[in-house]
């Protein structure tokens, strides 16, 4: 057993089930790696080492006794610190919440506990899942394992960093305008925003009720499908939770692409906004792979990207201000600058503008449904730009609207970010594969076929992994 730290969920589960690997051994290897490298990457806000070892021991005892619960039994994971875990603060990476204590587990945490997964701790995010990488908060921002001077994406930044760094094989994120898929893109991992309502929002601190989604983040597509299955399902405590059962994402995962019809929304990155040539090369090459696997790929058109952005941002600003109104009024200085600047516009949005944005959302949803009626899925870019310097605020702000992820928060339909290779500067590239509502099985099937053929996922092969720094010279400055 040479590389426990980059073991996938599926690989680890197979070894755990056959007792060739102990959950305790796996957990210890990851805790050692976190201790050695996380001071350079700040992925974790809190490492729950004692609890993790207790849960790993319990899992080992059950598996040894023949009581294997399923593919997440004994598998370590981390959660963005926006999920409630009983007895712990849900800080949302904010000083405003540092004294909070959760009295119950979030639904997704509860489901993972039931599945026997091992909780390793809470990971960093952009404050309240908005804003950006901030240096004026009690905790430093997470760093990108591929280059710690660059932005790891957000807002689920610690989740993305922890996966790419080999700290955990699975993490939970949330996504309102791309916050699972942005760090997935920047860190070269796999992250899905499922169908709205497929995963309960109970016990997750809200950002924008009508756009918020919980999504799993992993290093492989198969792992992501396993994790999605574990956390999906109806939750009567969440009015937005769907009663429609999640489709079986594993049954046809490896069914291939022959005969599938895939649309590509090219105009987002060729006409509507300027894209980095490396990102365009990545998706162009990926489309060739999809065609080579037997899919038919043709361009489709929907409304220009800025209209989707306008719709998402208006709803986001209005709903998030409603949540944070009192603190923005009474203690604006306690937010990070980037967070404050994201929340303030909501104060100036009229009820009429908000309602028109919701009407626009309905029109865009109908348009997307019509454009994809004859298709099995669509692909488009995730980030149009490459990760920027983490401390370059102007560059971070530029990336906010140079992305095509928020489109699928508006439609509420599933979209997964998968790696498509590397830029000339060595940073991960990515595309999105998106489908109609509850089409997670199809989205995963296409993602799996692509990633398997292209070999773009981080694995136990050292050539696919970032080279971590144990003692960066700049760490002291934080």
């Amino acid at each position: 057993m040479t590389d426990l730290v980059y073991l996938s969920v599926a690989e680890g589960a197979a070894l755990l089930r056959t007792k060739k690997l102990s959950p305790v051994e796996w957990t210890k290897a990851l805790l050692d790696r976190i201790a050695a490298f996380d001071p350079s990457y700040n992925a974790f806000l809190v490492v729950t080492a004692e609890r993790a070892l207790d849960e790993a021991k319990a899992a080992e005892a059950e598996i040894t006794a023949g009581k294997w619960r399923g593919p997440l039994h004994g598998v370590p994971y981390a959660a963005k610190d926006i999920f409630d875990v009983t007895g712990m603060a849900t800080t949302c990476h904010s000083k405003i919440r540092k004294d909070h204590r959760a009295t119950a587990d979030a639904f997704a945490i509860h489901k993972l506990t039931e599945a026997g997964a091992v909780f390793m701790g809470k990971v960093a995010l952009h404050e309240f899942a908005t804003g950006g990488p901030a240096f004026d908060l009690p905790w430093p921002p997470a760093r990108n394992p591929w280059n710690r001077d660059l932005h790891p994406g957000g807002s689920s930044s610690g989740s993305g960093a922890a996966l790419a760094a080999g700290f955990v094989p699975m993490a939970l994120g949330t996504d309102t305008g791309g916050s699972v898929r942005n760090p997935a893109t920047c860190c070269g991992i796999v992250g899905i925003k499922p169908t709205y309502g497929a995963v309960s929002l109970s016990g997750v601190f809200p950002l924008t009720h009508s756009l918020d989604h919980v999504g799993p983040m992993t290093r492989t597509v198969e792992d992501n499908a396993i994790a999605f299955h574990a956390i999906a399902g109806h939750d009567p405590a969440d009015p937005t939770s769907t009663r429609q059962p999640a489709g079986n994402c594993l049954k046809y995962l490896k069914a291939g692409l022959k005969g599938l019809r895939i649309g590509v929304i090219e105009h987002f990155y060729t006409e509507d906004a300027a894209a980095d040539p490396d990102q365009v090369r990545g998706i162009t090459d990926a489309i060739d792979v999809l065609r080579g696997l037997g899919a038919t790929v043709r361009p489709i058109r929907v409304s220009p990207l800025p209209l989707w952005t306008d719709c998402n941002r208006t709803i986001h600003a209005a709903e998030s201000f409603a949540i944070h109104e009192r603190d923005v009024r009474e203690r604006p200085e306690d937010f990070a600058m980037l967070t404050r600047n994201r929340l303030l516009p909501g104060a100036f949005i009229s009820a009429s503008k908000y309602i028109k944005a919701q009407q626009l959302r309905a029109a865009l949803c109908r348009q997307f449904a019509e454009a994809t009626r004859e298709l099995d899925a669509v692909v488009t870019l995730s980030s149009l730009l490459l990760p920027c310097k983490i401390d370059d605020t102007a560059a971070v702000l530029k990336t906010y609207d140079q992305q095509a992820r928020l489109v699928f928060n508006v439609t509420g339909t599933p979209a997964v970010s998968v790696p498509t290779g590397f830029s000339r500067s060595g940073m991960p590239l990515a595309m999105q594969i998106a489908g109609r509502s509850f089409a997670e099985p199809m989205v995963y099937r296409i993602a799996q076929a692509y990633c398997e053929a292209a070999g773009t996922c981080i694995s136990t092969d050292p050539k696919t992994q970032p080279r971590l720094l144990a003692a960066p010279s700049t760490a002291a400055a934080e």
Partner: protein, 68 residues
């Protein structure tokens, strides 16, 4: 209010109405930028869209009923 251009006095009064005096005092440039962004009109919807025939999210009381 659909015009994004706003005078300093209008902005001050608006902030007072909205309870944002503290933010305006501490971060006047950020509040001005936020006002311009928030007051900017929404982009034009797709051609086929008829606002009066397309309500926003429909309230469904059944979604709030818990399982027995």
């Amino acid at each position: 209010m659909s015009d994004a251009s706003i005078s300093p006095e209008q902005l001050r009064q608006l902030c007072e109405q909205l309870g944002l005096q503290r933010a305006f005092k501490l971060y006047p440039d950020a509040v001005r930028a936020a006002a311009e962004r928030g007051l900017r009109p929404l982009g034009d919807p797709p051609g086929s869209h008829v606002a009066t025939a397309a309500p926003a999210a429909v309230f469904n009381p059944a979604r709030f009923e818990r399982d027995p």
